[in-house]
Symmetry: none
Subunit: 190 residues, 4 copies
């Protein structure tokens, strides 16, 4: 018997991301995704239970990738501010480098589909960030507020800044990222 073809798996995910980004969730049909991926629509059902499974799995996989990218080179010995700065810069770079994946995840996250993803999954991928914020609070460096709220001020802006559709002007000059981080930091620091 044959083995599952890793190449096909990747082609399907890429096609899904591309089509959803270009045409939206509503118009991204299984047939079109399959054609884009160069496989038969039936083949898609060898890899995924159904369309929902395809979309949710793709989302989770993307979130995992970003989780890895953002927490890359995590150094627990750094000062709080530097740790957060690294996460911030990592996030900015990752989003810039994988615009398509990011756009997909942003679109997906606003969809009712998103409720199907268990929250533990997300928690796992971004744990170090939350830990760092908690540590900052304990050390009285960061304002004593719920983690979700601090996260919103710290990381929501970077997601917009890295999106050239929204902030075309941003990120071209060296120093832009450090400057923007300062704003985020100013928001949450004590």
């Amino acid at each position: 018997m044959r083995h599952k073809d890793e190449h096909k798996q990747k082609a399907i995910i890429d096609a899904t991301v591309k089509l959803v980004n270009e045409t939206g969730f509503a118009a991204a049909s299984v047939a079109k995704i399959a054609r884009e991926a160069g496989v038969s629509p039936a083949t898609l059902y060898v890899y995924y239970k159904n369309k929902e499974d395809l979309l949710v799995s793709t989302y989770v996989e993307i979130k995992r990738k970003f989780g890895v990218a953002v927490t890359r080179e995590y150094d627990p010995t750094l000062p709080i501010r530097d740790k957060l700065a690294r996460f911030w810069r990592n996030a900015f770079v990752a989003i810039q480098e994988e615009q398509a994946l990011f756009q997909f995840s942003e679109q997906f996250a606003r969809t009712p589909y998103a409720d199907l993803v268990p929250p533990e999954v997300m928690e796992e991928y971004f744990g170090p960030i939350f830990d760092t914020l908690r540590e900052g609070i304990r050390q009285k460096i960061i304002k004593d507020l719920p983690i979700e709220i601090l996260s919103v001020f710290m990381f929501q802006p970077v997601m917009q800044l890295a999106n050239p559709k929204i902030c075309a002007a941003f990120g071209k000059e060296p120093g832009d990222v450090d400057l923007a981080f300062t704003l985020a930091w100013d928001a949450i620091k004590l």
Copy 2:
């Protein structure tokens, strides 16, 4: 598509928002929207040219409503910080009060459909906000950065904070909103 039966018009918009929120754009079919609104599918085409027109019009209408709500009681004589604080609070209250409309607009905005809406429309609704930021820069009260970037730090967080799915803990206590505004202000103030 004007002045036919206002009551039916509203029923259709409400049904559209409800269905898109609950089932997503892909599953919100004309037939289901019509059933939810208590009219025939054909009736829908009396009010809107086609499905795209229905969705885009609904979005623009929602944005208009939020524009009005956010810039309500605009007082040009107030200090910069107080003007922004009012926008902020208005936004928070408006989102809280019209969760469904807000959710729809968030979902819609990430859709390729959103590109069909001319940017001037948005500019018109939220003009006073941009003016205020520009004025703050001139007065050297706010950091001298592109308006889009300041907007991101100032208003992106409130959109998340007002969403109980993301920040369940927020907004229950009096003072929450003022406190949160302080964070946003700290980010952009000089």
Copy 3:
């Protein structure tokens, strides 16, 4: 608005019966039925909720027709034997005249679909037959056995005899039917 087209309704039922008889339940697809009926597959779903509804409704309708035909000219004053003879002859004629409908119902009845039909429906259509058998028992003309068992001996044979595939030789000669009824009567009479 338009009205539902009785002609189309009938065309769909006829097409269903024809295709199921000729190709079996498995091969009788909605598309083929629609084509045979001269309507769009989508139109079929205006009249029936889904394929199962189409098949079950068709079956119930056929049973109703046969119920009417078998109990036609029911005369409560006749002797038991004559009443049963009339049911018997009616059944034979009805089956002969509507071979296709009968074949469909026979095939359907052996299908798991048949369990979806509530038994009261059948009871209603064939009530007079059961009443007559009960009366015969009371009058000590018929063997005192459960109605189902008597029914089996009385009416199962006629269903086979009227089927030319099984009994090609039967029913050509006048007197065949009366003769065959005698066998059924001999089985259940005291």
Copy 4:
């Protein structure tokens, strides 16, 4: 398709019968049958040419089994009535013991597939029964009618009586079967 793995062969037949009985011919797909049997869909094609072959072979095999069961302990020296009584009782017991196989064969026999089975095959399995009826006619013990018609009156009822779905009340008491045979015998005896 002979003598590979008898165990697998049996598993496939059992799965076929089970699925056809529970979900009908239309829904009994090769994939589901294979899963139920615990083999790969491809394996099925080692044993049978195609799906049709699987179904027809299963039917013929079941008919063979019932033929053997019904004519078991055939004693040519017995009187006509006793020979038929034995066939009758054998049939009743066989159907009762192999409800699933019987249900499958009943369902299959009404299907257009059934026309693919050459009639000689059936004749071979049930030959002794037909011989006995012919003998009875010759001895002027049984009514002089075509064999098919006598068969219908003699054996159609037992097929229904042994089906608990139709005759739930029947067969529980000792003597039920003998009593019922009397009815069948009364129908055809001179």
